[in-house]
């Protein structure tokens, strides 16, 4: 490509973008909308997956909550019995007082909220360490049969729920995104159509002269690319600001109540690079596709 050709292509593309700026804004908006929704879905999936991963680290532990009012001696016996169960590596006891203290510690200044508690709401707890995660179901079944056991909590459930949730978000998101992608391609192809029609005489002439494809199609493809690219840049900025804001909001306001939540969330800086690449690729892709659809329809000579 010679510089003259490149400058011609750029000049034409910018000119027609300016001439059809309202349609251009609509196109950019549609690309932005698609990408923001895509961003939402990606971020939710990423975070849910991350939560599942973090939860998995506590995979091999089962929390056994002891019912209120069980004698200390019985508790001790329970512990001994737990150790005998096949698949259990070890057992650790956590008193309700210890549980309260550790929560207070986690909450820091907000722990003041807990001072008015008349009763300690936390149960005494046995943490049962599994030697083999695959035996978790059997172990849980056995643990639940003990008298004095209030509830058995195992993170596998949480993990499974999270994985299901992320699957659902993925599928639902994919469906929406496909529909929106098609809409965007359609809107861009319409924008390009306007340009094609407004330059029809010139294009016809170019085709009679025997202009290379680059000259004929270049400006339109470039226009599509720019529209897609602008849409993706807007989407990236909005997602970055929005996500950052949400994380800070959650962390600043609810850090105590959902203690440890921040560890479950994926930071903006972790995703932004991938997001930029994905968004720009999709944005440009939509733009090119939109142009090609239009060109195929209207450049027939």
């Amino acid at each position: 490509m010679n510089p003259k050709k490149i400058s011609y292509i750029f000049k034409q593309a910018f000119k027609s973008m300016w001439r059809n700026r309202m349609m251009g804004i609509a196109s950019i908006g549609s690309v932005t909308a698609v990408l923001i929704i895509l961003g939402f879905v990606l971020i939710i999936v990423l975070n849910v997956n991350n939560m599942a991963m973090v939860a998995k680290e506590t995979f091999d532990q089962i929390a056994v909550y002891i019912a209120e009012g069980v004698e200390e001696k019985q508790i001790e016996e329970m512990g001994n019995s737990f150790r005998q169960i096949d698949g259990v590596l070890g057992v650790a006891f956590q008193t309700k007082d210890y549980a309260l203290e550790s929560v207070k510690e986690d909450w820091g200044e907000d722990a003041i909220l807990l001072q008015d508690l008349r009763n300690n709401p936390f149960p005494d707890t046995y943490i049962v360490q599994l030697s083999d995660v695959s035996k978790s179901d059997e172990v849980i079944a056995k643990l639940e049969t003990f008298e004095g056991v209030d509830r058995v909590r195992y993170y596998q459930d949480a993990v499974n729920t999270l994985i299901k949730l992320s699957d659902f978000v993925k599928r639902f998101g994919a469906a929406i995104i496909i529909v929106l992608l098609l809409i965007s391609v359609f809107i861009i192809s319409n924008t390009i159509k306007i340009t094609v029609l407004s330059r029809q005489r010139e294009i016809e002439l170019m085709q009679y002269i025997g202009a290379t494809n680059g000259y004929v199609r270049g400006p339109f493809i470039l226009e599509g690319v720019m529209l897609g690219l602008l849409g993706s840049v807007v989407a990236i900025l909005l997602i970055m600001l929005g996500y950052n804001y949400s994380i800070n909001y959650l962390a600043g306001r609810y850090v105590a109540l959902i203690s440890g939540m921040s560890g479950y969330l994926v930071g903006v800086e972790m995703v932004i690079n991938d997001l930029i690449i994905i968004f720009m690729t999709i944005g440009i892709g939509i733009g090119i596709l939109g142009s090609l659809v239009s060109l195929k329809k209207f450049l027939s000579i």
């Binding site: 010679n2 005489r201 002439l205 170019m206 009679y208 002269i209 025997g210 202009a211 290379t212 004929v216």
Partner: protein, 231 residues
């Protein structure tokens, strides 16, 4: 050399625009394609430009079947042909000079070639002093001269003109014809579709006459058909 062999074009399976066309045009010829509107002149030109494909038959250009040219190479094929429209088709936002330079730029010529060639062509069509004018500041005849300059700037082997004098008065038409003759004299094949009886009779060149899509006459040098009520 251009050859039509038994070329038929049927539109939408029902309307036969041209039928069994056999036509051979040698390099350097000047040929009028005449006939009433609807006789098939435009179809013939579109076929030759490979804007449309024949329903039957073969069209060859320098022994190459033009309908076997790949789509992406059509642009290259068209560079052999300079095309002149009845309505000039100049780009209104470009000056005379730019309109002509545009045709060179489109097929990638170096700037210094453009600066050298455009003035030469402008002087050939007699518009050296109008280089900086815009099309709407020119008369119809002048606009058509610009269009001719644009058609020949890339030195095509063949020039096709579709009713180039259709919008012009007799005097101006003669000027246009003079230029086309000069183009032809320099070795370019000129194919001109027209229904301008006066011009055809005046120039006495090869005439191919179409009627209802069929060639009814092909004479080496002569005038329009003698049927007085043809028009």
């Amino acid at each position: 050399m251009i050859e039509f062999n038994n070329v038929t074009k049927i539109y939408k399976k029902t309307f036969t625009a041209v039928k069994d066309i056999n036509l051979k045009i040698d390099n350097g010829e000047f040929i009028f394609i005449v006939g009433k509107s609807g006789a098939g002149k435009s179809t013939l030109i579109k076929l030759l430009l490979r804007e449309i494909s024949p329903s039957q038959g073969i069209i060859t250009y320098n022994n190459q079947d033009i309908n076997k040219i790949r789509k992406r190479s059509v642009a290259e094929y068209r560079r052999h042909i300079g095309f002149i429209f009845q309505d000039y088709r100049l780009l209104p936002k470009m000056t005379v000079y730019e309109n002509i330079a545009f045709a060179m730029e489109m097929i990638c010529c170096q700037a210094k070639n453009i600066r050298r060639e455009v003035p030469l062509v402008l002087s050939m069509v007699g518009l050296s002093d109008k280089a900086k004018y815009y099309p709407d500041e020119l008369s119809g005849g002048e606009q058509q001269r610009v269009a001719i300059a644009r058609a020949i700037i890339n030195k095509p082997e063949t020039v096709i003109a579709d009713e180039p004098t259709g919008n012009l008065d007799t005097e101006t038409s003669k000027e246009i014809m003079k230029i086309l003759s000069e183009v032809n004299r320099r070795g370019t094949t000129v194919i001109m579709a027209t229904h301008d009886r006066e011009i055809v009779n005046h120039f006495q060149r090869r005439v191919v006459e179409l009627k209802n899509g069929i060639i009814i006459r092909d004479i080496k040098a002569g005038g329009y058909s003698d049927e007085p009520k043809e028009d």
